[in-house]
Amino acid sequence: MAQIKLDIFRFDEATDTVPHRDIVEVDIPETTTVLDALEYAKAEVDGSISFRRSCRSAICGSCSMNINGVTGLACKTPCNTVMDDEGVVKVDPMPNFQPMKDMVVHMDPFWDKYARLKPYLQAKDKDSDHATERRVSPEDMKKLVDVANCIMCATCYALCPVVSVDPAFAGPAAIAYAYRFIEDVRDAKRTERIAQISEDYLWLCAHCYACSYCPKHVDPNDRIIDVKRAAINDKVMLDERGPRHALVVAKTIKQTGMLAETEVILGTVGRFNVRGLLKVTPLALRMVARGKLTPVEMAVGGTAPMLGLASMKPIPKVNEVRTIFESLEVPV
């Protein structure tokens, strides 16, 4: 048995304007999960402590919360893996959500983003009496099983730094769930789905891998890349900054072996997008003023590609790099 001090975020939107904290001490084995510790505190000490839970075994997705600064499922987190030297386990509601009562948050923005996906099969045939099976080969099904494990716990959404500054971003879970239907051979709406998720800022993912902490190993970080590749492969909404960026980076590497910065900026923003270029100009000028970029580098990077030339000096044996791109039929 150990004495565990639960340092609990307390807030009731019905009565409180600011949150406060309660320390609740419980005598339980230190290997107890944080969820069971909270259940114990609720049963034995203070019945008003509020949190969502149901299955207690990482299946229902209800109990995600912030535990000593780390968001995850309380039912999957033993106290001894998170508590500090004084035995303190600090619990807070998931970040990126509006708190409702203690660890219970308003989940609406998260569900709304799911709803926009039309998260159900829109089959190719209209066989309403289900006379024939919709068969999927094991090979095709393999792409979907991992992502179908998503329990919508919103851990990834709470961890996402892009959501934290721009709530318009669909977030990792919704993109992973879009993938689940985009790659489903029975689904008829692949193109529409890619277009929809592109509009919901698919390309705003910052590549940070915060969602690699997924408790069910859905790995939304990798699924986001899969959806982007589907967009490029199917040529859906490619005249946007995100896909233009990916394609121009690949193109400059093929040409020079390196990522040619100036050309990438111009290719992403759009060479003739005067307003867009004016927005990046102040930073570029500050960089030139500090000698981070030379005016020559800027000028060559800006004009050489228009003449069909490489924007910087290629690396030695750049033909090997081109052989790699050509062997893999990379579309640049």
Partner: protein
């Protein structure tokens, strides 16, 4: 079906040096940004290597690592590009490839892991490399300079080499995502609670500032996608650092450096002015080890770090 070609007892996310400590000859992969808009990073790394008494052999014919972006276009190309780089390192007799960029570290290690875990992928890469007479044997270990400083040089040794301690300068570590996440690829230290930068800061006489933003994202990869989002990510993190008492920031990643150094000004409208000067890891270590400050390219930063260094009596 992919199969593993390694015995099960060999760790896949290996980060230990395969060379003896006496050799101190490393393959060096500077990456694109250190050769383009952060040349001061390249230069200070070479000056630091001199002070440390190690030899960094630049892989001059290496290509870009894929920069986390090329995967969006094709599933295989970054892996094969990196296999080509590893083949060059092997041909030079260099098993360790040292990086100075978090994104290079993460993506080169991810590529290596995929190659080592799958015979099919290794064969695919070598079939392409074979067209120009190259072959990768799977011997390379990719390590960041930060890890090499701690594992090979050692913190005690580093501490003893300091001639210009930082006088307790309050430095906020900023890791950069790809040197810690995903843990299955990097795994050198806890991704949730890393402390290698803090250890280095303290070894060179600074005071490490703890703040929640240290493992968060700088937004570099979406600067061109929606710039106000990227700058806001910078502002959010730098606000946390500033509020925790930081006087400067240190980062092992030039992409983070470009973001933190370049975008704090734009983020000020939403997050207030932070103006924290940002050092490249090798810059600040090289300074503490006695490299003359005027050789470190401190004048190339948009937020000039020399003001706080004067204030702290580190330079005159």
């Amino acid at each position: 079906m992919s199969t593993t070609i390694l015995p099960e007892d060999r760790p896949l996310a290996s980060h230990k040096s395969t060379r003896s400590r006496e050799t101190k000859r490393y393959g060096f992969f500077p990456g694109c940004v250190a050769k383009e808009s952060c040349k001061e990073l390249f230069n200070s790394t070479m000056l630091l290597a001199d002070k440390l008494g190690i030899e960094l052999i630049e892989l001059t014919a290496a290509s870009c690592c894929g920069a986390s972006v090329v995967n969006d276009v094709n599933r295989d190309v970054a892996r094969v590009l990196n296999a080509r780089t590893y083949a060059q390192a092997e041909a030079l007799g260099l098993d360790d490839v040292i990086t100075i960029c978090s994104t290079c570290t993460g993506h080169m290690r991810a590529a290596n892991k995929e190659l080592l875990e799958s015979e099919e992928r290794m064969d695919q890469a070598n079939a392409i490399l074979g067209k120009f007479g190259a072959k990768y044997h799977g011997e390379v270990v990719v390590r960041h300079l930060l890890w090499m400083l701690i594992d090979d040089i050692g913190l005690d040794n580093l501490r003893s080499m300091v001639v210009r301690p930082l006088n307790g300068l309050k430095v906020a570590p900023f890791y950069g995502c790809h040197i810690i996440r995903p843990e299955s690829v990097n795994g050198w230290e806890s991704a949730r609670n890393p402390h290698s930068l803090e250890d280095v800061i303290e070894a060179i006489g600074g005071e490490a500032v703890d703040y929640a933003g240290k493992t968060r994202c700088c937004g570099f990869h979406i600067q061109l996608e929606k710039d106000n989002v990227a700058s806001s990510m910078v502002g959010q993190n730098m606000r946390m650092a500033k509020d925790s008492g930081a006087e400067a920031v240190i980062t092992p990643c030039p992409l983070c450096h470009l973001a933190l150094d370049g975008y704090q000004q734009d983020a000020a409208a939403r997050w207030g002015r932070t103006d924290l000067p940002t050092f490249h890891l090798p810059q600040l270590v090289a300074f503490a080890l006695g490299v003359p400050p005027e050789k470190l390219g401190l004048n190339k930063h948009l937020i000039d770090p020399r003001a706080i260094m004067v204030e702290r009596e580190l330079i005159s």
